[in-house]
């Protein structure tokens, strides 16, 4: 939250100019679309008659009712306390999404039939590939950050070359290079290790930069004070610098974990049967791939939500010092 002051003021969504503007915009937007073929137009049939022949009046009536509902909804939510507001808005956005997916006319029995395999094979593979990659990437990142901050020329050169190379190539290309290229040097690695290697190296490079910036954000006075107390490099890092750097590092690192989870789908090109691979293949024979893609999308989303929750817990833990 930004700075929460104690000045009494009316909430934005209850100011007349804001409500009026919002009403006008919603009205115009929905008048611009032809809604005569929708279920909402059917509901309006008693007022506007046959929807397809109702013309401009029909459009206006439909837009007007939607604008009234929308504005009323927002104004009413404005009265609720903060936590409830957040909950209601989440729920409403979620319902809109479900309504959107409803328009695909998905075959639910097919999804129910394939879901166990999608989870037992796909989700499990996706999770262990990303989990192992996350661990390796974090280790690389710590080492890389220290190397990038060191005054050893070799360490700096190697670390900066590494971050530049692996941040500069598309991850998909790295997957290909590692899977097809390493065998030419005599290391034949299977698809899963190749995928884990590519993900770890790529994300290690991004996280090196995150860790470096986190460490650099700590004032040099902290180093000076620590060294003057006789602390060595390792102890200073562990006890003084990293604990202060972590609150800076955690939000972007959480981002990386979430995007790693989704980027693990790129290893499907080398034939790993993870979630994305199965989503593309399971429904293919019967042309029900939309079912599988949407199921996989929902699963990815739920996994990401879990990561978000973990991240916000850790952030709360480190925010203790800022609470009054």
């Amino acid at each position: 939250m930004l700075y929460p002051d104690t000045v009494e003021a009316e909430v934005l969504v209850h100011k007349l100019w804001f409500v009026a503007t919002m009403f006008g915009i919603v009205l115009l937007v929905f008048m611009a679309f032809n809604m005569s073929g929708t279920g909402f137009a059917e509901l309006m049939r008693p007022v506007i008659g046959e929807p397809s022949t109702s013309g401009l009046y029909g459009r206006f009536a439909i837009g007007f009712s939607i604008a009234v509902i929308f504005t009323l909804n927002v104004v009413l939510i404005g009265f609720a306390p903060l936590k409830l507001q957040i909950g209601i808005v989440w729920l409403e956005l979620l319902l809109l999404f479900i309504a959107f997916f409803e328009t695909f006319h998905l075959s639910l029995p097919f999804i129910r039939e394939k879901l166990p395999f999608l989870i037992s094979q796909g989700v499990v593979t996706t999770l262990y590939v990303s989990a192992i990659s996350i661990v390796i990437a974090s280790v690389i990142a710590v080492a890389g950050a220290v190397a990038k901050l060191s005054n050893n020329g070799f360490a700096y050169a190697i670390a900066s070359f590494y971050t530049s190379f692996f941040r500069g190539l598309p991850l998909l290309m790295q997957v290909y290079l590692i899977y097809l290229g390493l065998p030419q040097l005599g290391f034949v690695i299977n698809a899963v290790p190749a995928g884990i290697l590519a993900l770890s190296l790529c994300y290690g490079a991004y996280m090196t930069e995150i860790f470096r910036s986190g460490i650099q954000s700590i004032d040099r006075g902290q180093w000076e004070a620590s060294r003057s107390m006789g602390f060595g490099f390792a102890l200073t890092m562990r006890r003084i610098i990293l604990p202060q750097a972590l609150p800076v590092i955690i939000p972007p690192t959480g981002n990386q974990f979430i995007s790693m989870l989704k980027d693990s789908s790129l290893v499907s090109v080398i034939g790993v049967w993870e979630l994305m691979f199965l989503a593309r293949t399971l429904g293919q024979k019967t042309f029900q791939h939309m079912e599988m893609l949407i199921s996989a999308a929902v699963i990815y989303w739920m996994l990401s939500i879990c990561l978000e929750l973990i991240q916000s817990r850790i952030e709360r833990h480190y925010a203790r010092s800022k609470v009054r």
Partner: protein
């Protein structure tokens, strides 16, 4: 330690871009017989040749052919499903021994692979949206055509197709598209075609069986004109093992002679594609 690993890897990546080592010539057959398993690479997304069936197992014409070859060699068959471009890149490095995935033998591909046997021929055809006014292939002159990227269908649309395998029937270019769009697989191309006549695509070049499958699944598309070419499809292995090549050729010859291939083709396509028409 970490520095070394990283440097090695970076060097590995560099070496790749600078030039490739020759592939190792290995006695693949020895490995197969001693392990008792034949590792077969195939696509998991190419129904009805190879796909995931209702029991979440690989199934299809190619899969059945691979299993039959395994039976002839007296070994078990195991499937791996790398992407098409990973397979055609060559340099398999022993990850799999044989590819049964409806590959068309061409001279360019023969530089990387041996083709022990052609096991069937697929007619390639052109599909249009069912609202399309095109009656013949000539009506599609100057239109937008879609095809799977790096496939023979794309090559045909771009007039860059070479079918130089023994017994490949002659063909001529009857399609003069303005633009060719490339797709990951034929399903995505059909998905674009189903949006409407000319919305994103006017036509798709694909195999006749996959077009008929899409029609059966309710896609609003139809075949137009006669099949444009008959594509010979072969089993591929890497160079350097003439014995394995001979064994596979014998197995396919035996399967042609005893009618196994015709039976499998009837099972999956409803027609006998194992001979040239």
């Amino acid at each position: 330690m970490t520095f070394w690993n990283r440097r090695q890897l970076t060097m590995a990546a560099l070496a790749l871009t600078l030039g490739a080592y020759p592939a190792h010539a290995g006695a693949v057959l020895d490995r197969v017989t001693s392990a008792g398993t034949l590792k077969v690479a195939t696509d998991a997304n190419w129904a009805p040749q190879s796909f995931m069936n209702a029991n979440n197992e690989l199934d299809g014409f190619d899969v059945d052919v691979a299993k039959a070859i395994g039976k002839h060699l007296g070994v078990k068959v195991e499937f791996v499903t790398p992407g098409w471009d990973i397979i055609t890149a060559g340099n398999w490095a022993g990850r799999w021994d044989m590819h049964v995935g409806s590959m068309t033998p061409t001279k360019k591909r023969a530089e990387i692979f041996d083709f022990p046997a052609v096991y069937y021929y697929t007619p390639a055809a052109v599909a249009v949206h069912k609202d399309s006014k095109a009656k013949t292939l000539a009506d599609l002159d100057g239109k937008v055509v879609g095809a799977t990227s790096t496939s023979t269908f794309e090559a045909y649309a771009k007039k860059d197709l070479t079918l130089d395998a023994a017994g490949a029937p002659a063909f001529e270019y009857k399609l003069n598209p303005k633009e060719v769009h490339s797709y990951e697989n034929s399903t995505t191309a059909f998905d674009d075609l189903r949006l409407g006549d000319g919305v994103r695509l006017d036509a798709v070049v694909s195999s006749l069986p996959s077009i008929l499958d899409a029609v059966k699944a309710g896609y609003p598309i139809k075949q137009v004109g006669e099949p444009v070419f008959y594509e010979p499809l072969a089993i591929a292995i890497e160079h350097g093992d003439p014995e394995l090549s001979g064994k596979i050729a014998d197995a396919v010859k035996a399967m042609k002679a005893d009618g196994t291939l015709s039976k499998l083709s009837e099972k999956w396509y409803g027609q006998d594609y194992s001979k040239t028409n």
